[in-house]
């Protein structure tokens, strides 16, 4: 019976969230279609006449788009559950669900399973999108690219964790609006702090007299040289070198050591997420009577 209940809960949650989720992925598939058309046109149609520079520009544009979608994969499921909780409050289902023979653990598990499944599918599609993006610019696909996606997934899980901790405790629209405002303000605040820290880091690009630092000048000149002579041979390391002012190799070495840590971190975040969902959905109505 427990399995039947879980199936029913999962089916319900999926039916409610699938529109948002699938439409976002339809956009990615649309982009893949653009790529196919582009390839065909390049071989048989008008794009056949493009010169190398033009082709590189088009390929890079499509690649950047694909990377954006690949990065979207791990976070695709993030918005859907928050929206679902709101829908449950608006439709009065939330209160009704407490009169059903469903345990708090089942309620939390159903939500969690759906989230994990949606994220897993998103993640696979992202890996596919990333491989495609790298192929567009003739870069080799590596396992570290997957780990980078895992970093994005972890950041997304952290955001969801904060979101759930605040929003899932709402039992009425008034509390929901208040909690959602706290969440959005918190995320914006965190974004501002990260932005300020990045800006502070960026200031190292300039010398004290206001001119561009010699290290950056050297990195830019190296990159421009390669771009001018053989743009097809530009690799990830060249971009990283440019962004780290020539310390690309060191940066990649450090990242290689840190990236595998994302795997246990992901597991820990999922466990925390389950606990947050369970504790928030378990709690009965503790708010004032107007919520009833």
């Amino acid at each position: 019976m427990r399995t039947e209940r879980m199936k029913a809960l999962l089916w319900r949650e999926w039916k409610l969230s699938r529109k948002f989720y699938l439409s976002s992925w339809a956009a990615l598939l649309g982009m893949m279609l653009v790529y196919v058309l582009f390839e065909m046109s390049m071989r048989f149609g008008n794009l056949k006449s493009l010169d190398t520079d033009e082709l590189t520009a088009v390929r890079t544009t499509i690649s950047i788009l694909a990377i954006s979608f690949a990065a979207y994969g791990p976070i695709a499921a993030a918005g859907s559950d928050n929206g679902m909780h709101k829908k449950d409050i608006q439709a009065n289902w939330l209160r009704y669900s407490y009169a059903l023979p469903v345990t708090p653990n089942e309620r939390a598990a159903a939500r969690m399973i759906l989230l994990v499944m949606m994220q897993a599918v998103g993640f696979l599609l992202s890996v596919f999108g990333l491989a495609f993006a790298l192929r567009m610019v003739n870069w080799q696909f590596s396992l570290y690219a997957v780990l980078i996606l895992l970093v994005i997934l972890d950041i997304s899980l952290l955001v969801i964790l904060v979101q759930y901790a605040l929003v899932l405790r709402a039992r009425d629209m008034k509390t929901y609006a208040l909690q959602n405002t706290k969440y959005v303000s918190g995320i914006i605040g965190a974004g501002v702090v990260v932005g300020l820290l990045a800006a502070r880091k960026m200031s190292h690009f300039a010398s004290p007299d206001g001119t561009v630092s010699p290290a950056l000048q050297e990195a830019v000149s190296q990159f421009e040289k390669k771009l001018g002579t053989s743009p097809d041979s530009i690799k990830l390391i060249d971009l990283v070198n440019l962004m780290t002012m020539g310390h690309g190799a060191q940066f990649i070495e450090t990242a290689k050591h840190l990236l595998p840590l994302t795997i246990p971190l992901t597991v820990v975040l999922y466990v925390l997420l389950y606990l947050v969902i369970r504790s928030n959905l378990k709690g009965a109505w503790k708010h004032d009577r107007s919520a009833l």
Partner: protein, 292 residues
């Protein structure tokens, strides 16, 4: 587990909110009967029902449903009861067929054939989205779901409020049919006393968080009466005999809670039988003693 005499037993239930207290309430719903739970808006009917269902934690008191403890045996209880709230709890994008699919997974005793029969009886379409249903259709769907999983107890919170008399009658007939099974019981909260007068076996009257009356409907109706007299006759009445008095331009209408005793004591005065809504109004105004 089926060895119980009262479908619901509430003893000393207390729930405190800021500005409102459900104050030490106790009443029973006998097995095989329908109890009307009467009170004006804000009297504490919904809070009591939420307490029974463990949707809100209680400050004190015990609740037994179908012979089981409402917290310890919550899961088992919820498999055997059905709840109908005043507001439609199903999402607009679902259909009646979708709801059947969900409930089939949630309730071990879900009966597809009974559900189909209930939908046919209420002329509810299987495939139409609930968002396109009228208010009456939505309520009928909620009731169709409630009556399709072999529930031994129906708990309804203002289920007939806002429905037109034709639909209300249809629903009340269905409840009477449901009660043909001696093991079935209903707790029906409403402020539409005419519905309860029609079908209830017993009534419990709550006001400002306190139970004022609880007993068999016929006994309550038989014991209460309204003395209709002139203002000068009214002055001769003993205030201790009266619940409250409505003063009109033509005289006074005073309610007594012991009609037989009042008839003996005031033999020269006319004592009319009282309807449930009149009893409710006179009790609500009991603190004022006189009102117009």
């Amino acid at each position: 587990m089926s060895d119980y005499t009262n479908a619901i037993e509430i003893k000393g239930v207390t729930k405190k909110y800021d500005g409102f207290t459900l104050d030490n309430i106790s009443f029973d719903v006998p097995k095989g009967s329908i109890m009307g739970f009467i009170g004006q808006n804000g009297a504490g009917k919904t809070t009591t029902i939420h307490g029974i269902l463990n949707i809100i934690p209680l400050n004190a008191g015990t609740v037994s449903i179908l012979g089981m403890d409402h917290i310890k045996d919550e899961q088992a209880i919820k498999e055997r009861i059905a709840v109908v709230f005043d507001e439609m709890p199903f999402h607009d994008l679902f259909t009646a067929a979708d709801m059947g699919r969900i409930f089939k997974g949630l309730y071990p005793r879900w009966d597809d054939a009974a559900y189909q029969q209930n939908l046919d009886r209420f002329q509810l379409p299987q495939k139409k989205k609930i968002g396109q249903f009228s208010k009456g259709m939505k309520m009928k769907l909620q009731i169709a779901c409630a009556l399709s999983h072999g529930a031994d107890l129906l708990i309804m919170d203002e289920a007939t409020t806002g429905l037109d008399p034709v639909i209300r009658n249809e629903i009340l007939d269905m409840f009477l049919e449901y009660l043909q099974d001696e093991g079935h019981s209903i707790l029906m909260s409403s402020h539409i006393t005419s519905d309860l007068e029609k079908i209830a076996d017993s009534v419990t009257f709550i006001d400002r968080g306190k139970i004022l009356l609880s007993g068999y409907k016929d006994d309550v109706l038989a014991s209460h009466g309204i003395i209709k007299c002139t203002k000068s006759d009214y002055k001769d009445l003993d205030p201790a005999d009266l619940v409250s008095t409505r003063l009109t331009d033509f005289g006074a209408e005073a309610m007594v809670s012991d009609r037989a005793a009042a008839a003996r004591k005031y033999s020269g005065l006319v004592i009319d039988p009282a309807a449930l809504d009149e009893i409710m109004v006179y009790y609500v105004n009991r603190k004022k003693k006189e009102w117009s």
